[in-house]
Symmetry: C2
Subunit: 382 residues, 2 copies
């Protein structure tokens, strides 16, 4: 009785990755009548549960997969950049493109390319050994932040605040198998994110600036619009748009900023739809996922303005108690007006299992709704 689906011989769109971002990209493509092909890592992964999927087990698989697809995009940053550059040179259409992927993957490269063009980052240096540490500390002192040069780790954010030289040497010893960099600690007032969709040729649209609140290294809560002045808002959006242009990005990228007492500095670039843009599913005429699909297939972008005065997303993150939010869907859906998204993942501590978005006329009211639904999912009193 069960037979595999009949699939087209060439897919218009291939998505590498099978987490929640791939799952939501898949839904957005399906809405537009497009049958994407997923390259999954595990058949039980979030996106693989929702879509006909493929598994890979060896590095050659990516180029084999790409041959089946007109356009290939990436959900995550755990990719072999050399292979991507080779594929792009051979004519394969890669989105957002190897240049953007390299900048997103390699924080030193990102900073060199973009500071050379006048974009503002915190002072930074490569950290290959104790000499680099002494040089940097001599100039900028402590506290400082040591970061993994390569982004895309899932178990931690890949950054450590260090208060003195001994702290720094300890982190360097513990992380000896990673390439590291060091950055001046920033007096952060707010963390901001701008999601920008850009087509080949330069047409680009930004979503309103969102504000993120982190706890324990995971992004917990996103609010849009960010509570910032018009000047900062404009600067953040113009900077994000200019960075997308500078990297010649095609698709959705997200630019994370620190708003510091000294102004706006770029923190990181994600070459894909971003957690801070999940609320565009409810709060924009076109979600970041649909605009990503539109952009990478070279289709016109849709409007990105906010529909509500206030929107809040609260992430649903696995706890140490092993609570499965899927078992508490009933209680969460009873929170009138909260929009619940679950990713179909098994619970593990620290794992993103879903998110809840609420819209409202007032930020506190929206936040209260989203938090109540999230607490219900995690079987927790608010």
């Amino acid at each position: 009785m069960l037979v595999p689906n009949e699939m087209p011989s060439i897919y218009p769109l291939g998505v590498v990755g099978s987490g929640q971002i791939a799952r939501m990209i898949h839904s957005a493509a399906v809405k537009l009548g497009i049958t994407p092909r997923l390259m999954a890592e595990d058949s039980g992964d979030s996106a693989a549960l929702a879509a006909p999927g493929a598994s890979f087990r060896h590095p050659d698989a990516l180029s084999t997969f790409a041959e089946l697809c007109e356009v290939v995009t990436f959900e995550h940053e755990r990719i072999d950049l050399g292979m991507i550059e080779h594929m792009e040179a051979a004519g394969q259409i890669i989105r957002p493109g190897a240049r953007t992927l390299r900048a997103a993957l390699d924080k030193i490269h990102q900073r060199r390319v973009l500071t050379a063009k006048g974009f503002t980052f915190a002072p930074f240096a490569e950290l290959r050994g104790p000499d680099d540490l002494l040089d940097f500390a001599g100039l900028f002192g402590f506290p400082a932040v040591i970061k993994s040069v390569r982004s895309g780790g899932q178990s931690d954010r890949g950054s450590w605040v260090v208060d003195n030289q001994n702290d720094a040497l300890r982190v360097m010893a513990e992380q000896a198998d990673r390439e590291l960099m060091i950055e001046q600690f920033q007096p952060i007032v707010k963390e901001l994110v701008v999601v920008v969709a850009r087509r080949a040729g330069g047409n680009a649209r930004c979503y309103p600036v969102a504000e993120t609140t982190y706890a324990d290294g995971a992004c917990l809560e996103i609010r849009a619009p960010a509570a910032i002045g018009t000047r900062v808002k404009t600067e953040a959006m113009e900077t994000a748009r200019a960075i997308a242009g500078e990297l010649d990005s095609v698709g959705v990228i997200a630019v994370e900023f620190f708003l510091t007492t000294g102004g706006l500095v770029v923190n990181e670039i994600a070459a894909r739809p971003h957690n801070a843009g999940h609320l565009t599913l409810e709060n924009a005429p076109t979600s970041q996922f649909e605009n990503h699909v539109r952009a990478i297939l070279d289709l016109p972008l849709g409007p990105t303005h906010a529909l509500a005065k206030a929107a809040v997303t609260v992430n649903v993150i696995g706890g140490l108690d092993g609570v499965d939010p899927a078992e508490h869907l009933h209680e969460a859906l009873a929170v009138e007006g909260a929009s619940v998204h679950l990713y179909g993942k098994r619970p593990r501590p620290g794992r993103k299992l879903g998110h809840v978005t609420a819209l409202g006329d007032d930020m506190e009211q929206a936040r209260e709704l989203a938090r109540r639904a999230e607490a219900a999912l995690m079987n927790r009193r608010l």
Copy 2:
């Protein structure tokens, strides 16, 4: 490299059917973290392209499929009611339930059950032969409407307006292989639809009354809210809610009404999400598809109010010229503010291939947008 997905041994939700309704139910379930199982008719069908699917080729397949699922629902009405009743009696959870399915499938049964409870239909009679015709015409005259008793045909709407006895006899001869009924022709002012979601136990919510415009037997355009007075609005919503209660429906059903010069009469009942509710994807906090999934899994219903002052859906229907809307997605997405849905189907004359929804402050403005995008998809000048 390609391996089938690892699927759970028991699915919380099984959907019989693989058209666009199943496709959109699937997306709504995925949003809530649920992996539904589809029972597809053909691997190239709309829903089967977007979701891991199953095919069936013989009638036993339905009960085999149902054994894999905690709850089974139906996208269409081409079902074996006897088998459904047998499965329900054996303890299988069928949604919206055999009682509702029988009423939706059999227009004579529907009318008898509901007129007995005081719901208003047009005068009708079974039409087994010329004697029935003469009896009915003697009482109600012509024009009259001959209808197929059994609903769910896809190639036509299963109804024929007849102006005299010869017309009627011709239709009866042409449709000799169908069970037929005859109904008094109604002086229709408007066609209205109320989509109502109902949980076991009676909790129910209606979406705002929508208004449909047909041409050539296919529903072409839906507007919400309907341009009707408060009294009619209230009567339609209360009637739809009462019918759902009377049939003990669980899930989403749609009640189609004629607003006639003499008042509101029930036209038909669809035991599933309805074309007139597609605009709830953009125009309600909870779409009809999500509320259908919530209701059949006995989860709390979400809010159903309209988000915009005016919403219009225009159906994208295959033309005689064979134009494929997927080839004109570019032009349609250039219509700023129109939300385009394509179902992944191959074009055939009269086939529903997609729909476009536009929201606005003003009905004419929303309609203009939706129609422009639809015309672009069909490569037609407006």
